[in-house]
Amino acid sequence: MSASELEQLERWALAVIAHRRGVRPGDAAARAAGLQPPGGAPLEELIRPSAQLAAVERIGVYANMYAIRLREVLEEDFGGLRRALGARAFRDCADAYVEACPPRHFSLSRLGLRLPDYLATRESERPDGAFLTDLARLEWTIREVFHAEDAATLDADAMARIAPEAWAGTVLRPVPALRFLELRYPVESWLRLERGQAATAEPVPGPAPGPCRVAVVRSGAAVRRLQLEPDAAHLFAAILSGQPLAGAIEACAGRPGADPRALAAGMSSWFRDWCAIGMFATLEGKGEA
């Protein structure tokens, strides 16, 4: 077998193994797509039978394991989505996703990276499509935060020491393990309720639409999720966009319907809570210690 024949064999074999409808359809589809094995030989001439299994069954062992392994990884990373869809629909969704977005990264932990965007392209296919996208986005964010880099965190005292006149030139930098999501469905409270419930084959209905603003951060070894009220969320988003503190506060206070006194009253406790769970890494600018 030459080097080019080895390449042909590998491309053909992987196309067969990864085909979601089984070995025979996979073999036919691979050949139809131009992935001919060396010499165009039939499957039975490429793979030896064993005493117990035919050639098609032997490569089928790999095909089964491919599908099961990838489904299991997605099920682990998207337990809430699995619950919302039910066992059968989740399996179909996982298989369709893997077919559309086959794994290309060396780490299985990245397998689900494109699932939220994949679901977003298919929202119109189901009445709860937008809920499923939002749920997948939150679950993937939790996963991302778990694996994000560590960083030292800013404590609440450092925040408290910033003189008001320095706010205009002070920027708060978030830790790498922080994400902020603004979603269309209250998936944070739904997930909190449903995750960890006993597995069920049947789908669990999602909630009615409603805004969800949630910060996801790793605090020590644990990933924490904090729902934010509209004013707090607006201020938080402005800070994360890199605005200096004073500009972020002004933008928040200037929003239609904003109550500057409520904002002023809430701010100190928001900043205290945000620092307490390690959302910010550094202060830059005039407020820097």
Binding site: M1, S2, A3, E5, L6, E7, L9, E10, R11, A13, L14, I17, A18, P38, E45, L46, I47, R48, S50, A51, Q52, L53, A55, E57, R58, I59, V61, Y62, M65, Y66, R69, L70, P102, P103, R104, H105, F106, S107, L108, S109, R110, F146, H147, A148, E149, D150, P176, A177, R218, A221
Partner: protein, 287 residues
């Protein structure tokens, strides 16, 4: 402990694979274990808690990195971004050695996340030898490559697996991790002779042994790394001990993983087989 290989790599004793279920236990309780093996890719995709755990473990135990995505037999170009990350991880954790499997995991950029079988012929051997040499040059250390469990054989193979493995190790000047469970699984799946397999190994290149459980499906065996090690696999370990005493031994348990102490107790069963072999060796010498 006395090294018995051409790189003077030490005998680390009896270790277990570190799995995420046991992170807290290992870090908090610091159990009496000789060494740990870590799956390289679990610590290469980002930082976060897994890497912090790995660093804590590296500070307290000898460890070895064992990869699953090097894809040394693939016809895709070597992934130097992957290798750079592996080297960075190695610089960070300072493993006693690092390795992967004799297999391919993907092609055309598509990673199957499985250890796929190679045809055992001259052209494939030359292809893999050249790649192992490139990887070793890049990593600046020998690779420790493991014989994989397989569920099919390509008709294009022109030599037995053990000949391919032995010739690869010699020609590429790499080290070997001999998985005796995989030898048994392949014996069941392909009807090969496990003793002939062990006889063919170049033991001056074997630095590590794997043992594990597997699933016997009747028509074939799957290398699930689940449950206790069966006696025939322990007996293969004893056969290796006859031929090459003093290799580092590691138990893999990856499916339905029990409490850490259960995994460790299973790994320590190896002592009985090694001790039995040592006793019978002494008795034979006395006769």
């Amino acid at each position: 402990m006395r090294p018995a290989n051409r790189w003077n790599l030490p005998n680390l004793g009896i270790g277990v694979g570190l799995r995420s279920n046991h992170y807290d236990h290992v870090v908090r309780k610091q159990p009496q274990v000789d060494w740990f093996e870590l799956i390289s890719e679990n610590f290469m995709a980002g930082g976060g808690r897994p890497l912090r755990i790995a660093e804590q473990v590296a500070a307290s135990y000898p460890l070895v990195l064992h990869g699953v995505s090097l894809s040394i037999g693939s016809t895709d170009p070597l992934d130097f971004e992957y290798l750079r990350r592996l080297k960075d991880l190695s610089d960070r954790l300072r493993p006693v050695w690092l390795g992967d499997h004799i297999c391919w995991t993907g092609v055309a950029g598509h990673n199957s996340h499985d250890l796929l079988p190679l045809p055992y012929d001259e052209a494939t051997l030359a292809h893999v030898v050249a790649r192992v040499r490139q990887v070793q040059d890049f990593l600046e250390r020998p690779l420790v490559l493991e014989n994989a469990s397989t569920y099919l054989e390509f008709a294009a193979s022109s030599m037995p697996e053990q000949e391919f493995v032995a010739r690869l190790a010699e020609a590429a000047d790499c080290a070997l991790l001999l998985d005796v469970n995989n030898v048994w699984v392949n014996h069941r799946n392909h009807g090969t002779d496990p003793i002939a397999y062990l006889d063919a190994m170049p033991y001056d290149r074997v630095v590590q042994i794997h043992v594990a459980g597997h699933a016997d499906k009747g028509t074939h065996c799957i290398d699930t790394h689940e449950g206790p090690v069966i006696d025939p696999v322990w007996e293969l370990l004893a056969e290796v001990e006859k031929r090459a005493p003093g290799r580092s031994i590691l138990l893999e348990w990856d499916t339905a993983i029990p409490e850490f102490d259960v995994v460790l107790a299973e790994a320590r069963k190896a002592e009985r087989f090694l001790a039995a072999e040592s006793r019978s060796g002494r008795a034979a010498a006395a006769e």
